[in-house]
Amino acid sequence: MAGGPPKALQSTGPHSLRDMPHPLAGSSSEEAVGGDSTPSPDLLMARSFGDKDLILPNGGTPAGTSSPASSSSLLNRLQLDDDIDGETRDLFVIVDDPKKHVCTMETYITYRITTKSTRVEFDLPEYSVRRRYQDFDWLRSKLEESQPTHLIPPLPEKFVVKGVVDRFSEEFVETRRKALDKFLKRITDHPVLSFNEHFNVFLTAKDLNAYKKQGIALLTRMGESVKHVTGGYKLRTRPLEFAAIGDYLDTFALKLGTIDRIAQRIIKEEIEYLVELREYGPVYSTWSTLEGELAEPLEGVSACIGNCSTALEELTDDMTEDFLPVLREYILYSDSMKSVLKKRDQVQAEYEAKLEAVALRKEDRPKVPADVEKCQDRMECFNADLKADMERWQNNKRQDFRQLLMGMADKNIQYYEKCLMAWESIIPLLQEKQEAK
């Protein structure tokens, strides 16, 4: 029995089997999710969770299965169909319109977040707010805290070496915007995270800072309970499936790192090639000033090389802006996933340790003590959440990389097509007077 304080959890929490209502069953408001884990309603936009038809994100054992199904694995099964349709999507978020703000203390960029939703969690059908990077950072920490059993998408890199990269250049801002947009979209697509209250506030609150100040007191139960699991417990063996995930992530991150280095090297070589091209083209121009009949052909070749140079520059810019950041994002992603894996290990370790302790005590109590049971639930929910998220992540990763690599191929194709066009167009010019002779 979970007992005690209200299970005001947004996410799957440590519910005992008996406490978990069927997700599709109407539940009393207390047990219902909605989890007012938290905050006094004044501070939040009023939400009503009365709708019993909603697929609620927490607690639910499908009748008939004995496993403490976490909400998300169930939802994953249910929602997979939704994803394919796309029609039953009820939440859309876009990040755009970056603007620079100059204040006395600092200069920074804000982005407009537009939200459209039919979900009841949202009072209005549409919202538009402005947020800056540190708001995103705040959101991410909150999500990590409140949903420790889930994989939280990564943010683009926080720190930028000043002087090396111009934080206010169009390219940098655009790259960041795309990454932030991806970040929110990934959360939006997540069956559990998208219902997170912090996420909701992020999307809707006019004054996020005021909410943030309250945040300190708003640790969720799960957050607390996970936090209590300190590094004191050491896991003996990771279960096979998680070990496999861990190994996969290690190799994956390694390979991505290599690809990142290769891509950087290619860009570097291309830039050096570009430098030489920019000297090469004009020499033909110089030559053409010496000539009579050859002047036009030489000038044509010079212009052609110039066009190719421009095309090359576009290619390197594109690769720098679109390709590298996504690679890095995935490296960050797999890093954060590895730490979630470790947390899972901690939970399992705690459970096993407690279990052992009980066994050693050799008490006659027939049933397992409550706290050990709690640990077991925690672990099993964690495992389920993690597996579900992993599967979702694998699918998304496949989509993302297919798109990324096809994009890379496309950019190269476009580069060569531009060059081809340039060279083909001067052939007639070069041939011209020959026939006329």
Partner: protein, 535 residues
């Protein structure tokens, strides 16, 4: 020597009217021959004129090479319009020093027109040579020249020290125009220094001609992957082609092709060096020409030649610059392509841990490998283009040499005129008794007394003789000068047209190379994209 095989398989660019260009660039199939096919025809040869390669002496001659530029593209060593008078005694080297006789130089323009017409039509056969009256005389036969092999040799040099050098096999075939069959008439081995000797001889005896240049002695403008070593097989191969080109240029020159020493170069292996030296050409060489930059103050320079000299300097400078930068560009491009090869390996490793993505990644990686290795052939082809530019870099030097010779001639003329004028004045002074000019004789006369009238008469007589001689000399020098200018200018015009044609073709072939490279790139990345789409 496979390194240089340039079988450009251009996936026929549609809409490219340059079929003839494409044909020019296609390699003759030479199954596994040691002397691999070089498909680089010197630009300016009629379309379809392909390089003939010896394959163990088996004849594979397709069409003529070494066609004369002048004379309607017919036999290399003969123009159909040449009169019988031309075929008499082999040209006397002595006579060659005088300005070439005024004769139709095979009507270069008409010849060019005919040849170009052939080019445009893409004909691959012999043209106006067909209507030549057959003569047994070597000069009128069509011949093919090729430098078909290169061989490393060791021998003893002048100081009896052992040295290693490369010898080149020169084969000459004459073609019976009636049946088109070619017969090997001569074959001998020459080394680079003999080519140099030939050229130096031609420079002395044909000062008004822009003499075709030799390929570079040492490898320059190399981009980093290529070796700068003279013994490197690729370098030797490219030099072989360059030497062949040199001989073909001479053979197709309306004047040079008739030279006896050139003929002997192709036919007389032993003793040729002695024969050349016996002409005494080294003595006739103007050592002042060696001092390239020494200035000779010419009072009335011919503007055309001054401009031309200036042009040749600028041309040398700009082509050098171009070749240097091109080598750097090649270097960088090489780097870009090769780094992509790393994708092949990492995609393969990555695919090992993936389930559905694995196949797509693996096959895409293979395409990246293909991409990376494609650069080798691409850059090899570009070396041909660089060689074409180099030829004109060296041609610019030859052009400059002609201008220089003219300058010296003019200088000598002016000196002679000046000398004559001063003698005349002296004479006049002696005759009239007035001393306007300072002379030692005058001074001593003043100091030591007048000379006798007899003495004065004697001196006047001597001077008058000298003046007479001087006037004759000046007259002939003037005539020589005018002849030189006329003939030089004719050759310069011929050269200009050749240059414009050749360089335009070089640019076209360069553009075609770039187009091919782009198409390959598109192909590879499209393939890779397809693999990615299946991930």
């Amino acid at each position: 020597m496979g390194g240089y095989n340039r079988a450009l398989s251009l996936s026929g660019s549609p809409g490219l009217a340059a079929d003839q260009v494409l044909r020019r660039l296609t390699c003759l199939p030479t199954p596994g021959s040691v002397s691999s096919c070089s498909s680089w025809s010197p630009p300016g040869l009629p379309a379809g004129a392909r390089r003939w390669r010896a394959e163990g002496r088996a004849s594979q001659a397709e069409t003529l090479v070494g066609r004369g530029r002048g004379g309607g593209g017919a036999g290399a060593l003969g123009s159909p319009r040449r009169t019988a008078a031309m075929e008499q005694a082999p040209p006397d080297p002595e006579r060659q020093l005088q300005p070439a006789p005024l004769e139709p130089l095979g009507c270069p323009d008409a010849g060019l027109g005919a040849a170009v017409g052939k080019e445009a039509a893409g004909a691959g056969e012999e043209d106006s040579g067909v209507d030549t009256m057959p003569h047994n005389n070597f000069w009128l036969k069509k011949i093919e020249i090729s430098v078909s092999e290169a061989e490393k040799r060791t021998g003893r040099n002048a100081m009896n020290m052992q040295e290693t050098y490369t010898a080149y096999l020169i084969e000459t075939r004459s073609v019976e125009h009636t049946d088109g069959q070619s017969v090997l008439t001569d074959s001998l081995w020459r080394r680079y220094s003999e080519f140099e000797l030939l050229r130096n001889y031609l420079l002395v005896y044909y000062p008004h001609i822009v003499v075709p240049p030799l390929p570079e002695k040492r490898a320059e403008f190399v981009w980093h992957k290529l070796s700068a070593d003279n013994m490197d097989p690729d370098f030797v191969e490219r030099r072989r082609i360059g030497l062949e080109n040199f001989l073909l240029r001479i053979a197709s020159h309306p004047i040079l092709c008739r030279d006896k020493i050139f003929y002997l170069f192709l036919t007389q292996e032993g003793n040729w060096k002695e024969t050349v030296n016996e002409t005494g050409f080294q003595l006739k060489a103007d050592s002042r020409l060696k001092a390239l930059n020494a200035t000779f103050r010419v009072k009335n320079p011919d503007k055309r030649f001054t401009d031309l000299k200036h042009y040749s300097d600028e041309l040398q400078s700009v082509i050098s610059h171009l070749l240097r930068v091109r080598a750097r560009v090649a270097d960088r491009l090489y780097g870009v392509y090769k780094v992509h090869g790393n994708y092949g390996r990492v995609f393969s490793e990555w695919s090992a841990i993936e389930k559905e993505m694995g196949d797509g990644l693996q096959s895409a990686g293979h395409h990246m490998d293909v991409y990376a290795s494609s650069i080798d052939d691409i850059l090899e082809d570009e070396e041909h283009y660089a060689d074409q530019l180099k030829e004109y870099l060296f041609y610019a030097e030859a052009l400059r040499a002609v201008c220089r010779k003219h300058e010296l001639m003019q200088y000598d003329l002016e000196m002679a005129a000046q000398d004559l004028a001063s003698k005349k004045q002296q004479c006049e002074e002696l005759a009239t008794g007035t001393v306007r000019t300072f002379s030692l004789k005058g001074m001593t006369t003043k100091l030591f007394g007048q000379e006798t009238p007899e003495q004065r008469e004697a001196r006047i007589k001597v001077l008058e003789e000298q003046i007479n001689e001087g006037e004759q000399q000046l007259k002939s020098k003037n005539l020589e000068g005018r002849e030189f200018v006329k003939n030089a200018w004719a050759d310069i015009e011929r050269f200009k047209e050749q240059k414009n044609r050749d360089l335009k073709e070089a640019l076209i072939s360069y553009a075609v190379m770039q187009i091919s490279m782009c198409k390959k790139g598109i192909q590879v990345w499209t393939n890779a994209k397809e693999c990615f789409s299946k991930m």
